[in-house]
Symmetry: C2
Subunit: 303 residues, 2 copies
């Protein structure tokens, strides 16, 4: 917790997973080390998905024992096979995922929504029985908009969110996977969620595809949400729109929070340094996002 | 007016003025024609500044008589010399500019704030006496943050805004020139402005340098502001950070408004087309912003 607001840094997992350039284990560790040095204390480090699905994260099991001490690390776990690896390594924080849209789960993980919840039930039961002190996050993707179905009614997102809590997750991250949501939608979903789920266990995961991410954070923050996901340098994002704005950049989130009078433990200059390093690694040293990172770290922010 | 919200398209002036590639008159006219076809009905077309300052807009007097009929066009006028050209051409909408920060006016236009207001007084008196049906917009730059002085107290912005109204402008555009402001600042400035100036004559001019522009628009909209400046494809912006996010992109503004249930007369697909054309002209066909424009124009917006 960073004085009220918790930032979950998803760069090493969500950010890197769609990158085509193979990133060596050493470089990933340096990136995570830099994030830690910048003050990121909650990092989604990698994923125990099949290397066939996500070759970039095939080194997950090698990475895990080498992570620098300090932050809380979590790992994405798609199924019982991935969970086995997590349990073997003693992982204490896992994340499971599904979506509010049936079409999305079918195309993304080749399961119906019902099947995906059933798979999550099995993962949670197994994890709880072997790891009583384990902590579980659930992701609900396409919470506002599905690339295949269009707008998603809040009722559908709420139903899936509630089912995840019923299955025993400790927190749900509600994701605007394609970056379509605007504040009126965030307001209406948040107010409806309030009636049925514990608000202090809700995170929002916004994408800045169309410039609305900070507006959505601002609205959610006003309504009492205190957990936000973001990715250093805005890495990652919607695979359906390569090159376009992806995850909310941690730089922008931290800038917005600090300037709004909400302190965090993250040092913007060191964060910009971490972003510069990973962007250079990915062959994007001069991207606008890197400059933006430096701007967001610049002295205009009253820290 | 577009059903309540008026969008002032500043791309042809504010967007192009810092571009290094010389854009032929023909291409500028095509750009403006495309903006008109997209539904932009209020366009800042060019500037009667000295060609020495802004070579890109040296063709202002040639451009003016060729503008396609339909939209309201305005022209930036820095001084009496520029005004003479405007009067000769029968321009009915001019814009004058100053800033909330003394250091900025000194470095930007080599005048103290007082001198710049005096120059504006002369321009307004002359314009009113020769053009009784003329309309005048005033710009207040660095309204929240100055690149030289840092944070600007709202009182200073309000003082300059009020002085501009006292001098007889019809509207003031309050500009976050470096793109530093966050919603709490917009809220506090807007509420303070409410007490001293006519709110229906206030426009906001946000930059998206750090991802906060739509959040600021959203906040201002909630507080009753109905005039927003933006630039197609986000062209233009802070000369101190070339390549980084600049003006709020009209695409993002229109996407946000439409998705929020606020209609405008702008057609996102045609706007994206105008942006693609001008970006290609500037040698930036594959920029993330161009893709973003297409995304913002995509069918996910419930029009």
């Amino acid at each position: 917790m960073s004085d009220g607001v918790r930032i979950v840094e998803v760069g090493p997992r969500d950010g890197l997973q769609n990158e085509r350039i193979a990133i060596p284990l050493e470089a990933k560790l340096r990136f995570i080390q830099s994030l830690r040095d910048a003050g990121c204390d909650d990092i989604e480090a990698t994923s125990f998905v099949s290397p066939k699905w996500v070759p970039q994260l095939a080194d997950a099991a090698s990475l895990w024992p080498l992570l620098p001490a300090g932050p809380d690390y979590s790992v994405l776990v798609p199924n019982l096979k991935g969970l086995e690896r997590a349990i073997e390594l003693g992982v204490k924080r896992i994340a499971v995922f599904t979506a509010a849209s049936e079409s999305f789960t079918l195309k993304n993980i080749n399961m119906t929504l019902e099947q995906s919840l059933e798979a999550i039930r099995n993962v949670i039961e197994e994890y709880r029985s072997t790891t009583p002190d384990g902590w579980i996050r659930g992701y609900v993707s396409t919470a506002f908009e599905c690339p295949f179905e269009g707008s998603i009614a809040p009722e559908r997102t709420i139903e899936v969110t509630r089912k995840l809590f019923d299955l025993g997750v400790d927190e749900v991250s509600v994701g605007d996977t394609v970056g379509a949501a605007v504040p009126v939608e965030v307001k209406s979903l948040t107010k409806m969620l309030e009636d049925s789920v514990p608000m202090e266990q809700i995170a929002y995961h916004f994408h800045d595809t169309r410039g609305t991410a900070i507006a959505n954070v601002s609205t959610a923050l006003e309504l009492g949400i205190r957990i936000f996901d973001s990715s250093a340098a805005g890495l990652g994002g919607c695979p359906y729109a390569p090159g376009a704005g992806g995850n909310l950049a941690t730089e922008d989130l931290v800038y917005f929070l600090h300037r709004s009078g909400v302190p965090t433990r993250i040092d913007p200059d060191r964060l910009a340094q971490a972003s510069r390093e990973v962007l250079a690694l990915l062959g994007r040293p001069a991207s606008a996002k890197a400059q933006q990172a430096q701007l967001s770290a610049s002295g205009t922010s009253p820290r």
